[in-house]
C-alpha cells in the first residue's frame, strides 16, 4: 500500500495528516485523554485535601484560641502536646480499643465463619440478615444500645436482674464504659470479619485438605498447619481496614458518653480541644499528629499485608 517514495514520503504524509487533526482528536490521544479525565479529581482533591493540610500546618505553629489573631509560637504546640498526659491517655485508650476490638472480631469472626461454612437451606437469608448491622449508621447504633443498656429499664439490665445481678451502669462507670463502646463496635463490625473469612474459606484449594484428610491429619492440625497460614492475607486485610477505621472512632461517642467516663479516645480528644475548647493552634497540631500516626501505622500494616500476600502464593 505504501508508495515507492520511501520513508521520507510517508513521514511527510503523516505530518500533513497530523496538522489536519481537530482539537478533539488531539485531546482524545492517549497522552492527553488520561490527564483530561483526571482533571476533576485532581482539582477537587487539591482543594479539599491540600488546603486543610496546609491550614493545619500553618496553624500548628501559632497560638490561636477562639477568634484571637494567631500568634507565631514555633514548635510550642508540638512540645505541649507531646508532654500532655490527657493526650497520651487518649492515645492509650485508642490503642486499647483497637487491640481489643480487632482481636475479638478476628477470633469470633473466624470461629463463626468456620461454623457457618457449609451449604445449608436458607443460607442466603441467614447471610443477608447477619450483614445488616454493617449498614446501620454508627450513631443510630450507639443510641439503640444506649436504650438497651439503660441502668433502670434497659433490657440487658432487666435480663441480668433475672439471674440475680444488680443494676450495671454500663455507660457511666470508668473502665466499663470504654468496654461497652468496644462491645457496640464489635457487634456492628463482627459480620464484616465473618463474611471476609467465609469468602476466604470458600476460595481455599480443596486438594490440599483432601490430602491431609487421606493422611489422617487431625482437624486441629489441619486448621493450624493449612487453614490458618492460607488465611493470613485475609486476616491482614481485616486488621489493616479495622485498625484504620477504629483509630477514627468517634460517632458512637456522640450518642453515648460524649467522651465522659474514661472514654475519651484520640479523635474525641481532638474534637474537644478544637471544637469545645476552641483552641485552634493545639487542635490543628493534634490533628496533624493523629494523621501522621495513622499514616505510619497504615504503611506498616500495608507492608505486612503485601508480605502476607507474597508468602501465601
Amino acid at each position: 500500500m505504501a508508495s515507492p517514495g520511501g520513508e521520507a514520503r510517508i513521514d511527510s504524509l503523516s505530518t500533513e495528516f497530523r496538522e489536519k487533526r481537530t482539537v478533539w482528536e488531539v485531546l482524545a490521544s492517549e497522552k492527553y485523554i488520561k490527564w483530561l479525565l483526571m482533571i476533576p479529581l485532581v482539582v477537587f482533591l487539591g482543594v479539599f485535601a491540600f488546603y486543610p493540610l496546609f491550614y493545619c500546618l500553618y496553624m500548628s505553629f501559632h497560638e490561636a484560641i477562639l477568634v484571637k489573631a494567631p500568634d507565631f509560637i514555633g514548635l510550642d504546640n508540638y512540645r505541649k502536646i507531646l508532654h500532655s498526659l490527657p493526650f497520651w491517655r487518649s492515645v492509650g485508650r485508642s490503642a486499647l480499643v483497637v487491640v481489643v476490638c480487632v482481636g475479638a472480631e478476628i477470633t469470633l469472626g473466624l470461629g463463626i465463619a468456620l461454623f457457618l461454612n457449609r451449604e445449608f437451606r436458607g443460607q442466603n437469608i441467614v447471610r443477608g440478615l447477619c450483614l445488616l448491622p454493617l449498614v446501620v449508621s454508627p450513631l443510630a447504633m450507639s443510641l439503640m444500645w444506649k436504650y438497651f443498656l439503660e441502668p433502670q429499664f434497659g433490657i440487658i439490665n432487666v435480663m441480668l436482674s433475672w439471674i440475680g445481678f444488680s443494676q450495671v451502669a454500663f455507660l457511666s462507670t470508668s473502665p466499663g464504659a470504654l468496654y461497652t463502646i468496644m462491645f457496640m463496635e464489635t457487634w456492628k463490625w463482627l459480620p464484616f470479619s465473618i463474611f471476609v473469612f467465609i469468602a476466604a474459606l470458600r476460595g481455599l484449594p480443596k486438594d490440599a485438605f483432601e490430602a491431609a484428610h487421606v493422611d489422617g491429619a487431625s482437624s486441629w492440625f489441619t486448621f493450624k498447619k493449612l487453614t490458618l497460614p492460607m488465611l493470613k492475607p485475609f486476616i491482614m486485610i481485616i486488621i489493616l481496614l479495622r485498625v484504620m477505621w477504629l483509630i477514627r472512632l468517634s460517632d458512637p461517642l456522640f450518642g453515648t458518653t460524649q467522651g465522659g467516663a474514661g472514654t475519651e479516645v484520640l479523635d474525641w480528644y481532638i474534637y474537644r480541644i478544637a471544637f469545645i475548647r476552641f483552641d485552634l493552634g493545639e487542635g490543628t497540631t493534634l490533628a496533624l499528629i493523629a494523621l501522621f500516626m495513622t499514616i505510619i501505622i497504615g504503611v506498616l500494616l500495608f507492608r505486612q499485608l503485601i508480605k502476607a500476600l507474597g508468602t501465601a502464593r
Partner: protein, 267 residues
C-alpha cells in the same frame, strides 16, 4: 443431632445480630409507660411517637435534607470518580502514586478537614447549607468510590477496547457502546455504597449544619436534653435513620464485603 446443634448455633447468631434491630422497631410503637418496661411483650401499640416525630419534631425535613445531600453528593462523586478511575485503570495515570494519594485522603481525621473548612464556609456563607454539606460528603466519599471503580474497570479486558478502536470507533462511542455496559453493574454498586456512607455520616452534619440543612443523624441526638431522654421518639428517629440503609444493604448483600474491602475480596 449435629444438625440440631448447627441450627441452634445459627439461631443464636441471628438473634445477636437481628434482635437489637427488631427490638427498636417494636419499641417505637410503645407508649410512654411501656417503654420503661422493656420486657412487656404484649402492649397496646400506639403511633404517638410517630405522630410526635413527624408533627412536632423536624424529622420529615431532616430526612429531606439528608436525602438531598446524599443524592447530590453521590451524583457529584460518580461524575468525578468514573473518569478518574477509568484513567487510572486504563492508562495507569500517575504510576500508582496519585492513586495511593487518593486513597490516603480517607485516613485524614475528619477534624482535620472540619476546622479549616468551618472558617472557609463561614466566610462564604456555606454553613448550614445543602451545598456546603454536599461538598464535604463528596470529599469524604471520593477516594473510596475512585478506588472501588478502579477495581471494576480493571476487570474489563483492554482487548475489547482495542478491538473497537481498530474497527474505527472513536473514544466517545467506545465508552458508550463498550465500556459503559460493562461498568454499569460496578458503577451501580459503588453508587449504592456512596449513598449508604453519605446517609450514615454524622460528624460533618453535626459541625456544619444547625437548622436549615440539619441531617437525620444530627436530629437523632437532639432527643436527649440535659435531664430527660425521649426514648420513644428517639426509637422512631433511629428507625428512619437506619431503614433506607437496611433496605439497600439487603439488596446489596452479595457485594457488601467486596465494597468494604475496597474491592480486595470478592465475597
Amino acid at each position: 443431632m449435629r444438625r440440631v446443634i448447627f441450627w441452634i448455633g445459627v439461631a443464636i447468631i441471628l438473634f445477636v445480630f437481628i434482635f437489637p434491630i427488631a427490638w427498636i422497631f417494636v419499641t417505637s410503637f410503645k407508649g410512654r409507660t411501656d417503654i420503661m418496661v422493656p420486657t412487656r411483650l404484649f402492649f397496646v401499640p400506639t403511633l404517638e411517637n410517630y405522630v410526635y416525630e413527624f408533627w412536632k419534631m423536624p424529622l420529615l425535613r431532616e430526612m429531606k435534607n439528608s436525602a438531598i445531600v446524599t443524592v447530590l453528593s453521590t451524583a457529584f462523586v460518580m461524575a468525578v470518580s468514573l473518569p478518574a478511575a477509568y484513567s487510572f485503570a486504563r492508562f495507569n495515570t500517575g504510576e500508582g502514586h496519585l492513586l495511593f494519594f487518593t486513597l490516603t485522603t480517607r485516613m485524614f481525621p475528619p477534624v482535620v478537614a472540619a476546622i479549616p473548612f468551618f472558617f472557609v464556609f463561614k466566610s462564604w456563607g456555606l454553613l448550614d447549607t445543602h451545598i456546603g454539606l454536599t461538598l464535604l460528603y463528596v470529599y469524604f466519599n471520593m477516594s473510596f468510590a475512585t478506588f472501588l471503580l478502579y477495581g471494576f474497570f480493571r476487570e474489563i479486558p483492554e482487548e475489547l477496547e482495542n478491538a473497537a478502536m481498530v474497527d474505527g470507533y472513536g473514544r466517545i462511542s467506545i465508552f458508550r457502546r463498550v465500556i459503559f455496559p460493562l461498568i454499569a453493574p460496578g458503577a451501580a454498586i459503588t453508587t449504592v455504597f456512596c449513598l449508604i456512607f453519605a446517609w450514615n455520616e454524622f460528624f460533618f452534619g453535626y459541625i456544619f449544619t444547625r437548622t436549615v440543612a440539619r441531617t437525620v443523624s444530627f436530629g437523632l441526638i437532639s432527643h436527649w436534653g440535659s435531664v430527660v431522654v425521649q426514648w420513644g421518639p428517639m426509637a422512631v428517629g433511629v428507625i428512619f435513620a437506619i431503614l433506607p440503609t437496611l433496605i439497600a444493604g439487603w439488596f446489596m448483600q452479595r457485594f457488601i464485603v467486596r465494597g468494604l474491602t475496597f474491592g480486595a475480596i470478592k465475597g
